[in-house]
């Protein structure tokens, strides 16, 4: 069918975003909404290939150190001002360098950012940085209007409450606790887009209510993760209900158990291996995740670049686990298990794993806490075992190495090497792989480091998660990039 214009789309956003100013807040709900308002220079298709957006084309020098981007002409901000290379330089070099912790890590490799003319931007790198071209997505490197933010205190700029971007939808209203409303940008730089008149993001704090809302037709789109997994089969079985697992390729969320390598008995490699054998990850995948996702083989997700296809398996094998425990002379010291306070599924998963561990003779004490307490405990290394899942951002250098390199052992963050694993060889391999050139060289190094980690089990990998997005089948073209619902719904349209 051909796209038709008009219509309102109702989407769930969970939890309510703290702000829509994507340059300041890079969490998922903010991006889900603000991804329609702000744009980056590039998009990525489902195979993670870069696509033009605000930049129409880009080229790189022979040595991989100079990147030149050619910007699109005739792009305007929502307030009518033109978008130029000055905005790009301001956004990346000034604004995001100050506010975005994740991007800041990558910008270490960037020597300078310059704008030879209004529509050209040049990034000069200190050395080749493999994942560089993967940094330009809206959530990582959104374009911020220079004319509004320059010279102001970014955090208190009143425009934060009324975001101005270049995206296909304009911010209209935010009724705190209820909904966020965005309307069509009539002057969108891609001719003919968007199709939709407006979008509502509904704040429905309770998962069960969210499924009822979808069921009763109040909601068209349930982004992945917004309903409990148990509800997914039922919701997808409804009339005119579609679902897809697409749209997570860029993030490819990877779940694992943190294992605090510092303390006995976790300090013993055999204990960690025993955990791997003790867990029935297939049961978890089927009972808790409705068969969505994939049992993780190692530190790198199978959809992420440089995945090593030849890793050995840790199958469910309690006997082997017991044997390993016996071999190390495990004395039955109980370990604390800290579930992730992110919803029912995680809680249930913790219960299942506790049971798995109990069956091989590892006694666990479940420790309960909320998000803040959980963050705090992981940051302070005050745990034995704990759940987590992290995004991989398409490249091990962006989303994987941070968990394993010893330079990243520091109290105060739940996202670094919290398990305290330290191996000079691994450090070296990761460091080389990030800057090696070309990709074939990187693949080699990454294969090696993956094999080493799988043998050492610094953390117990669980699943490559998939969060299916459920939507009304009348909605077409909902997901057309590797970041799924976090990208703009510019090409989405609703069948009448």
């Amino acid at each position: 069918a051909d796209p038709v214009y008009g219509g309102t789309m109702d989407v769930v956003v969970q939890p309510e975003p703290p702000s829509l100013m994507i340059g300041l807040y890079s969490n998922a709900p903010t991006q889900q909404v603000a991804g329609n308002i702000y744009e980056g220079l590039l998009r990525y298709d489902k195979d993670l290939n870069p696509q033009p957006l605000l930049a129409t084309s880009w080229d790189t020098s022979e040595d991989g150190k100079t990147w030149t981007f050619h910007l699109k002409h005739g792009v305007t901000w929502h307030d009518g001002k033109p978008f130029t290379s000055a905005d790009v330089v301001f956004s990346v070099d000034k604004f995001l360098r100050q506010t975005n912790a994740r991007l800041r890590q990558s910008l270490q490799y960037v020597d300078s950012i310059t704008a030879p003319d209004d529509y050209t931007v040049v990034f000069q790198l200190k050395q080749p940085f493999g994942p560089f071209i993967g940094l330009f997505e809206t959530g990582t490197m959104p374009m911020i209007p220079k004319h509004i933010y320059e010279g102001t205190d970014y955090k208190t700029n009143p425009a934060n409450h009324h975001p101005i971007g270049t995206g296909p939808f304009k911010f209209a209203e935010w009724k705190k606790g209820s909904y966020i409303h965005a309307v069509k940008n009539e002057n969108y730089h891609v001719k003919g887009l968007p199709y939709l008149d407006d979008i509502y993001w509904h704040v429905i704090p309770d998962a069960a209510s969210r499924s009822v809302a979808y069921e009763t037709g109040k909601i068209d789109v349930l982004p992945g993760g917004s309903v409990e997994n148990f509800d997914i089969p039922r919701l997808t079985a409804l009339d005119n209900s579609c679902s897809t697992s697409d749209g997570w390729e860029y993030f490819s969320p990877h779940a694992w158990l943190w294992i605090n390598n510092r303390n006995y008995p976790m300090s013993d490699k055999r204990f960690r291996q025993a955990i791997m054998y003790a867990m029935d990850r297939d049961f978890a995948k089927n009972a808790l995740w409705n068969g969505y996702g994939k049992v993780a083989k190692g530190p790198v997700g199978s959809k992420t670049n440089f995945f090593n296809k030849d890793l050995p398996d840790y199958e469910y094998n309690p006997k082997k686990a017991k044997a390993l425990l016996k071999e190390m002379g495990y004395d039955g010291t109980p370990v604390r298990l800290l579930p992730m306070p992110y919803g029912e599924t995680w809680q249930r998963w913790a219960e299942a794993i506790r049971q798995n561990l109990a069956e091989v003779g590892i006694k666990t004490d479940m420790v309960s806490s909320d998000v803040a307490g959980w963050n705090q405990k992981i940051s302070d290394w005050d745990f034995d075992l704990s759940f987590t899942y992290l995004y991989q951002y398409g490249d091990p250098a962006l989303g994987v190495s941070r968990t394993y390199v010893s330079s990243n052992i520091a109290k105060g963050s739940p996202w670094n090497n919290a398990e305290g694993y330290s191996d000079p060889e691994v450090d070296k391999l990761f460091a080389e792989a990030a800057t090696a050139y070309p990709d074939s060289k990187r693949q080699e190094l990454y294969n090696e480091v993956q094999a080493k980690l799988v043998e050492d089990v610094p953390v117990a990998w669980l699943l490559e998660l998939e969060f299916p997005t459920i939507y009304n089948c009348n909605v077409h073209n909902l997901i057309d990039s590797a970041i799924g619902v976090n990208d703009a719904f510019g090409t989405a349209w609703i069948e009448k």
Partner: protein, 327 residues
Amino acid sequence: MSIQTLFYIGGRLIKGLLVLFVIAIFNFFLIRAAPGDPAKVMAGEAGATDELFLQQLREQFGLDQPLYYQLWVYISNLVQFDMGETYRQQMPVFDLIMDRLPATLLLTGTAFVLSLVLGVLVGVIAASNHRKWIDSAISVAALVFYATPLFWLALMAVLLFSVFLGWLPAFGMETVGANFTGWDRFVDIAEHLVLPAMTLGLFFTAVYARMARTSMIETSRADFVKTAKAKGMKPSRVTFRHTLRNALLPVVTLAGLQAGQMIGGAVLTETVFAWPGIGRLMFEALFQRDYNLLLGVFFISSAMVVLFNLATDLIYCIVDPRIELAK
């Protein structure tokens, strides 16, 4: 209103403010006892963080200051009726609360009025049929509702009325995006209100029904009821002119106590029905360690309790001439 009453109200308000002040300090320390801080939570949501980022956030929120200084800032702002800014939404706490308070007041107010009227009515019916089957039926029903967990009732109600029967919306306060105005909007909100107000109200209906029943039975044994009967009055008139009014006094007291508590007690209902009220706001603020917001919600709901208690006393004093305010 007499000058005495005004004085009395003034005095009570001042006392109430003192209590609120102590509560504010108490809450301040209580909340800081929780592990984690707002910076961590927000950093956590971002999925990546470093010390610099945390430091920036803490500075921005003033959390890098020593605790006593933070308390001082908080209190000195508070006495100027400034509750500070929320960490997440970056807006004045007071505005945010005022944004959400009407929803809670609508929900609890409806539930309250509904349960009071219904409860008293049912209680009176039961009492005037004391020891007959209808009394037993009402008593049993009241007990059952009294004993049933609210959240469970809410779940069952959604299941029945929204999902199976499709009569009523299951969540939210109004149809978002419909942009109703005037009467249509009223109807829309009313429809959304039915289920949450019912679930919240049923429990209290049961409470009031039980209370009204007992009180009616007790009052009907009072001497003045006998006097009224001796005047040759019709039983219905005795009931309404004499028994009921006196029997309502304890109900008024209880109602006043509970009206205040309902604000905080709506957390469960607001959760299940996605009602955008302050109970829910508090719940979220708690888990986000949004100290200012949480303190603000606590302060406002405690203030409501103080106001409701005062209102109860005033009403009591109007209903019962024996009570002199200045005591």
